[in-house]
Symmetry: C2
DNA sequence: CTTGAACCTGACATTGGTGTCAACTTTTAC
DNA sequence: GTAAAAGTTGACACCAATGTCAGGTTCAAG
């Protein structure tokens, strides 16, 4: 989370002596950040994107610029490809698992 | 691909003088390897998994051991979580994009 | 007050697949 | 035959988020 802070992803309150104070909102925010990292976005894009996201209760605090929109559209397309590839890989795993499982209990299907 | 070779993912023929000879099958295999990497598997699991996969035309050359099956099932579950998270992130991106796009051409929806 | 726990900063290691470079050998084209 | 192109090996750098450690400050309980 210190790292997130340096990247401008998390603005954290400080107690007068310098200790960080995390509000409840920080939890959701960290979860969102990690999801975006997992989706392949880098710190910079996330930093630009976060303020444009709708918060739990409110409207976004910023509107994405046209430049950012095209970048995000590119990311979205990449994520879509990622999803279809993952589904394919998952299905391959399922097939391997099923094939092996069939061999493990052949009695169940014998006449 | 040299790296894949060292990890036991690609067995490559050699010409007498040592040059690598890649058959057509290598293309599909590399694509599959990269898909599995993208799905978060590491070299070792992929090396165990590959021989259990059905090839383009033939049956798998090996059947996964029970140990491997449980590992693969864990990976599959992780991939499933990955997919749902990615879908969520993609939808978030879509929302940000749509919101910005609505702002860019408001005339189209004005009365 | 004192002591232990928790926090701060800054520097550094880790990860694992990928990219790059040098020095050398083999192939290919003319 | 010769030169350019492309292959080989091995060593090393890179990325970027995360983890860890040391030395010093602050907080909280007794």
């Amino acid at each position: 989370m210190r790292y997130y802070e340096t990247q401008g992803l998390l603005r954290v309150e400080r107690t007068p002596s310098g200790h960080r104070v995390y509000g409840d909102w920080a939890v959701d925010r960290v979860i969102r950040i990690q999801a975006l990292y997992a989706a392949g976005l880098n710190s910079k894009k996330i930093a630009l994107l976060l303020p444009c996201m709708r918060d739990t209760d409110g409207a976004p605090s910023e509107i994405a610029t046209p430049q950012l929109v095209t970048e995000l559209a590119t990311e979205r397309d990449r994520i879509n490809r990622m999803i279809t590839d993952l589904i394919r890989s998952r299905d391959v795993l399922d097939e391997v698992i099923d094939t092996a499982s069939d061999r493990l209990r052949p009695a169940l299907v014998e006449p």
